[in-house]
């Protein structure tokens, strides 16, 4: 249950934050969710990881698909030296997933040391 709530909350918060703040606001969103809802560090990491993998993966696929991946084709050649828009979308999703995952990991560890500090 905690997993599902954390997952949905991380995805929703990240989605909303990116309307108003820079892309890295997803890190703050994942961090805060992990702080709020206690989970084991590894579990917290994967919750945020999967949340952003799916969120950024589907958003970038949606945007890119809207013009037949025209720009993604070109950028994938530019960055990956390889013409594959889906690989570029995957790379985007993994970057978001890693950032959110590590932010959640930090949040989870911080929650653990909090009682000790008190």
């Amino acid at each position: 249950m905690k997993f599902v709530i954390s997952f949905i909350l991380t995805a929703l918060l990240s989605f909303a934050a990116c309307f108003y703040f820079p892309w890295w606001s997803i890190a703050i969103a994942a961090f805060m969710v992990a702080l709020l809802i206690p989970q084991k560090p590894v579990k917290a990491f994967f919750t945020a990881f999967i949340a952003l993998l799916l969120l950024w993966g589907s958003i970038s696929f949606y945007i890119s698909n809207n013009n037949d991946h025209l720009l993604a084709h070109k950028i994938s050649v530019l960055i990956l030296k390889f013409d594959n828009p889906y690989l570029l979308i995957l790379a985007t999703a993994v970057i978001g997933a890693l950032v959110a995952g590590f932010a959640a990991l930090s949040g989870s560890y911080l929650r653990r040391i909090k009682p000790a500090a008190n």
Binding site: N67, L70, L71, K74, I75, V77, L78
Partner: protein, 497 residues
């Protein structure tokens, strides 16, 4: 772009930021421009009294300079003050500070440039957009001082005209070809060519006006032009227009995309006459036949065009490289028309002999050696699959960043520097337009780009393939009655705030 106001209605190509149509047409007439090459910038050596540059020697006495001070603000540092001394000729563009440590010269040079004179070129286009007849056109284009342009004009009442327009310095032969002494007034510009002596044609007997950057006058013109002009595109344009009757829009489209090489028509016989085909090996014979059987078209798939292009360059190298290697640099080689005319006129042209050898080479020796070098390059090209003219040329339309993924590379298009379809590797005739000044104006146009600057948009490069294929779009000169046409997608309203 179209500009429509209650007083005029104009359509055509423009520059970003220009408030007018630059090349285009309105309800009464059409207008176009080509660059009119002319030497309007000269350099004079200045002798300063001392390093302060406050005084310089002119007409047997020390004259005072004036200074223009430029303050360049720097982040977190004191502003940099740059001062430029002005003489009677103009600003001192080069002095010993110019170029830093690389500059070993102690000399100073002032520049006299026509573009420093005040003028208001924007009025040309605001007036042309409203022009109704030849008088309006003349009044508009004579505002043009610099950069000089060949201004072509046609109106619905049947008038045609062209002016090689600009305010040109009246020079003696050779004035300004090299650096000139600025110690007195003797080398100074004496005045400008009067506007009624600027070359122009108004309803000429031959029934057309044309410009492809060629020389605007013949030798009877009393003023010195001071520029090199390429004659070949102009020769072919004039030849074809002379032959054409009952011209259709399609005829004009074919003319603009013509790939015939009139330069090769004149130069190829020199090669054919002088290549010693008995001295050729099997591979060389193969390429020789490609050249011999070439139809003189720089078209897609043509191998002869590639052979000719490389051979001409190797030939030019073989003629000039030996002498020019010993000349002080930088020095320009003569243009292709100069070399071609020289060898056509005189088979003992003095540059023919290779001065590095003891024997006296003939034209046939040089051409044959050049051809053998050419074949070496061609064999390599053939291995790379780049023997076809368009593959060798590799025409590209580049994004501003020069990134390949945002550019269109290796476009399958013919033409070349000396063709009417002057499509080179990275240059070409971008705005092609044909206007039929019939009762209801019918105009066609195309450019190698798209309606969006965003490389992620399908509109980014959507006209390129049409342009490459030599196709045109019908231009929609929208009228007030069509305001609610379903092709109108968006509206933007401006309010006084």
């Amino acid at each position: 772009m179209q500009l429509s106001t209650p007083s005029f209605n104009a359509y055509g190509a423009s520059f970003p930021g220009a408030p007018s149509i630059v090349i285009g047409f309105n309800d009464s007439c059409a207008f176009g421009f080509t660059n009119g090459g002319r030497d309007v910038r000269d350099y004079y050596e200045i002798k300063f009294k001392d390093d302060t540059q406050k005084e310089y020697w002119y007409n047997k006495q020390w004259q005072k300079t004036t200074f223009r001070i430029d303050t360049i603000f720097l982040k977190n540092r004191a502003p940099f003050i740059d001062s430029v001394a002005y003489t009677v000729f103009g600003p001192v563009m080069y002095d010993k500070n110019y170029g830093g440590d690389k500059n070993k010269s102690n000399k100073s040079y002032a520049v006299r440039w026509k573009a420093h004179d005040p003028s208001n070129e924007l009025t040309i286009f605001t007036k042309l957009n409203r022009a109704k007849n030849y008088e309006d056109y003349s009044a508009a284009v004579t505002d043009l001082r610099t950069p000089g342009q060949n201004c072509a004009f046609a109106s619905k009442n049947g008038d045609i005209a062209i002016r090689a327009q600009g305010e040109w310095p009246a020079k003696w032969k050779g004035q300004g070809d090299f650096l000139m002494p600025g110690f007195d007034s003797s080398y100074q510009w004496q005045g400008m060519i009067p506007q009624n002596e600027v070359p122009f044609q108004y309803n000429p007997e031959r029934g057309f006006v044309s410009s492809a950057n060629q020389k605007p006058t013949d030798t009877t013109y009393p003023y010195y032009l001071g520029r090199r002009y390429t004659p070949y595109r102009g020769i072919l344009v004039n030849r074809l227009l002379t032959e054409m009757n009952n011209v259709t829009l399609q005829d004009m489209m074919d003319l603009q995309t013509n790939n015939y090489n009139v330069f090769a028509e004149m130069a190829l016989p020199v090669f054919m006459k002088n290549i010693k085909d008995s001295a050729l090996e099997t591979t060389e014979k193969e390429y020789f036949n490609m050249l011999k059987n070439w139809n003189l078209q720089n078209e897609v798939g043509s191998k002869g065009a590639t052979v000719f292009e490389i051979l001409w360059n190797d030939f030019s190298d073989a003629i000039f490289k030996d002498e020019f290697a010993k000349a002080p640099s930088p020095i320009n080689r003569p243009v292709e028309s100069t070399l071609l005319e020289a060898v056509l006129k005189d088979s003992a042209f003095k540059f023919i002999d290779n001065i590095e050898t003891t024997r006296k080479e003939t034209l046939a020796d040089i051409v044959t050696t050049a051809f053998k070098n050419t074949v070496d390059s061609l064999v390599i090209l053939n291995k790379e699959g780049k023997l076809d003219w368009e593959k060798f040329k590799g025409t590209r339309v580049s994004h501003l960043t020069k990134l390949d993924v945002f550019s269109r590379l290796n476009l399958p298009i013919g033409g070349g520097t000396l063709n009417i379809n002057a499509t080179r590797n990275d240059h070409g005739p971008s705005w092609r337009m044909i206007v039929s000044l019939t009762q209801q104006t019918e105009a066609y146009g195309i450019y190698p780009g798209g309606q969006s600057g965003n490389p992620g948009s399908k509109y980014y490069d959507m006209f390129i393939d049409q342009w490459v294929a030599g196709k045109y779009y019908l231009l929609w000169l929208m009228t007030r009655a069509e305001e609610n046409d379903k092709r109108v997608k968006w509206r933007m309203s401006f309010n006084k705030s």
